[in-house]
């Protein structure tokens, strides 16, 4: 296997699916960059390649008809993707920072997500919306959110939140092949993370959790960047004889309820770590699932670790406190062990 970054794994998935299926097109702002700029044609090719370089090289490989630079107009971008999807293309639209979904949300939550159901099962909307989530960059309150909980509240939308390069590639290929609208959330702090990624194409099913650590005493359920913090805690506590299982659901919707409940049944102690929201987030949804389906297995109350219910602060001094951190996770595990 080859070592690749999360960014390269995503690019790999896009390139391989575009090569395999002519109906896959990419739509977004500055996916190539340089269009209409003053530099000579040769010089400005791939001037951006996506604002953080994820799509670099794809225009050279596939050209303007399939890697489409757009004006800054998310409502038209996502609307066009929805319309193209329901009529036969497989668009992958980029929102750049997922925070910008607000401008375009109608096309997703009133249109694409509902086509199939409203039309009596006679339509499908195979589009993917990619975007960055996550705090840690001091990018402030309008560029640091993780709004996957908001997408997941809409029936008909699938929501994918990969935590590793390997998962990112397999889940993105599956998302592109999937016949439903998928919101694919890339954590900006993971782009440079390296891991083993096969060169060849492969898929990972949506709705299947991954046990990144196996253990017996406590289950930590975490997504995206939080998985690595959970793993860190698990590795540390193992040395003290506390055996922590880390479950990464990988998709928020559909949710692998069985995979989660199985782990809870075996450990009886649960910590849920979530960057999305302090209220009505992924953590609360999973806690409700556990309370309603696995209450009798619990040896202690479920611990929820989320940011406070505030916007994301700019100052690094505050942002650091805002993001759920390793110390809080570790303390929660210890507390459960004492309970």
């Amino acid at each position: 296997m080859t070592i690749k970054t999360y960014r390269e794994a995503i690019r790999d998935a896009l390139a391989q699916e575009m090569a395999r299926d002519e109906s896959v097109v990419l739509i977004g702002e500055d996916l190539r960059g340089g269009h209409g700029g003053n530099a000579p044609e040769e010089a400005k090719v791939e001037a951006f390649g996506g604002v953080l370089g994820v799509t670099k090289g794809l225009w050279t490989q596939f050209g303007s008809a399939r890697v489409i630079d757009t004006p800054i107009t998310e409502s038209a971008i996502i609307g066009m993707a929805a319309g193209a999807a329901v009529t036969g293309l497989r668009p992958v639209a980029e929102l750049m920072f997922m925070d910008f979904f607000g401008v375009s949300h109608d096309a997703l939550y009133n249109q694409a997500a509902k086509f199939r159901y409203m039309f009596g099962g006679k339509a499908k909307a195979p589009l993917v919306v990619r975007g960055m989530i996550g705090a840690g960059f001091s990018a402030a309150a309008q560029h640091s959110q993780s709004p996957y909980n908001i997408f997941a509240t809409t029936p008909g939308l699938k929501v994918v939140v990969p935590s590793s390069p390997y998962d990112a590639k397999g889940l993105l290929i599956q998302s592109i092949r999937d016949d439903d609208p998928v919101v694919f959330c890339e954590h900006k702090m993971l782009y440079d993370m390296k891991g083993e990624v096969p060169d060849e194409s492969y898929t990972l099913p949506l709705g299947q959790a991954n046990y990144t650590r196996e253990g017996e005493d406590v289950t930590i359920i975490a997504l995206s960047a939080m998985v690595h913090k959970a793993n860190q805690v698990a590795d540390k506590l193992l040395k003290e004889g506390i055996s922590v299982e880390v479950v990464d659901p990988r998709t928020v919707s559909p949710l692998d309820e069985e995979g989660i409940l199985e782990s809870v049944a075996s450990t009886g102690r649960v910590v849920i770590v979530d960057e999305s929201a302090a209220r009505f987030g992924f953590a609360h949804d999973v806690a409700a699932l556990i309370a309603s389906q696995a209450f009798h297995f619990l040896k202690a109350p479920v611990a929820l670790i989320t940011p406070p219910h505030t916007p994301v602060p700019f100052s690094p001094a505050l942002e650091k406190l805002w993001i759920p951190d390793v110390d809080r996770i570790e303390a929660a595990v210890r507390q459960l062990m004492e309970a």
């Binding site: 500055d30 791939e46 001037a47 604002v51 630079d69 309008q142 560029h143």
Partner: protein, 320 residues
């Protein structure tokens, strides 16, 4: 419209403050001590100042991600802005907003805005307040050429026309939205022409010329204050730096920036247009004062403390 010497000196000082502030951030940023994204306004000073010199403190502006120049032109405190950009508690927003969210409502500054196209809808709200209170106030939005393609921008313009709001929509056409040229992304290429279709006066001016911007704005402000409704001004200018600090600018032509610095410097253009009235010494004195002021702002911002942990939870609700 004649500006007296005092007014001219004030306009020059404001432009110089923006230039010095931005160029200083450009160098300070290489230290790695400035968190997050920085988008510099150098090259567009004449727009912010040409517009804001027509406004009262009680008038409002709504800005963009490239907002430092608008903040300074509207009278925000430079020391507090610098501290904000460094993420310090002494910052204008207590370190919670940063470069892209600087605001000071007491100065009529509704905020820089990290959402492209964010300002025009807010600004028609400020214009509605002014109209409802019948206080003669006006509200101005700044939007880029890239932002002119956001649907909500023209929804806001149409609303302003329908309600005859005292709003002015300024489009800063610097030729690029990130790495994409306006020649590619703006259908028809003529933002003012597009706006005119909504039934309001829309003009295009040279945004490197303070006087062109000032005069177009004066007319629009007068119309708005007298109940004559909204206007659009497209100001053409250039951005000298990358889209954000760290952008290598591969989309730019060879020598493009050097040429802009030489031939399209709003401060030089201002100095030459006022040569008969303002002496070189007077301008140089301002340059020195402003430099000292910005130096001081940087020193104090660096020395200032970060917000304390408790402030993480404050300011969510008015009473948290």
């Amino acid at each position: 419209m004649e500006l007296n010497t005092q007014q001219l000196l004030k306009a020059y000082r404001k432009m110089r403050e923006i230039r010095e502030f931005e160029e200083r951030l450009h160098t300070e940023n290489t230290s790695g001590d400035i968190p997050g994204f920085i988008h510099l306004y150098t090259g567009e000073e004449a727009i912010a100042v040409g517009v804001c010199e027509n406004l009262q403190q009680t008038d409002y502006i709504g800005s963009t991600h490239r907002g430092h120049g608008h903040c300074i032109a509207k009278g925000c405190d430079i020391h507090a802005m610098m501290a904000e950009i460094f993420g310090k508690d002494a910052g204008l927003c207590r370190g919670k907003g940063g470069s892209m969210h600087i605001a000071d409502l007491s100065k009529g500054m509704l905020g820089a805005n990290a959402i492209v196209g964010g300002a025009p809808p807010l600004v028609i709200g400020a214009a509605l307040t002014a109209k409802t209170r019948n206080n003669g106030g006006v509200a101005v939005s700044f939007t880029g050429d890239g932002g002119s393609n956001q649907g909500l921008v023209f929804e806001a313009i149409n609303m302003a026309v329908v309600l005859q709001l005292p709003a002015i929509f300024v489009f800063e056409n610097n030729g690029y939205g990130e790495a994409t040229g306006h020649n590619y992304a703006v259908g028809g290429r003529d933002i003012a022409g597009r706006a005119a279709g909504f039934g309001l006066p829309a003009v295009t001016v040279d945004g490197t010329d303070f006087f062109a911007v000032y005069e177009a704005t004066a007319e629009a402000v007068k119309r708005a204050r007298e109940g004559g409704g909204p206007s659009v001004i497209e100001a053409k200018a250039f951005r000298w730096h990358g889209h954000f600090e760290g952008d290598p600018g591969l989309y730019r032509g060879e020598g493009e920036i050097e040429r802009l610095r030489a031939d399209h410097d709003p401060l030089k253009i201002f100095a030459s247009k006022t040569a008969g009235t303002l002496t070189r010494e007077a301008l140089e004195a301002i340059d020195a004062e402003v430099k000292a002021q910005v130096d001081d702002a940087v020193i104090k911002a660096r020395a200032a403390g970060y917000p304390v942990a408790e402030s993480l939870l404050t300011d969510v609700y008015v009473s948290y």
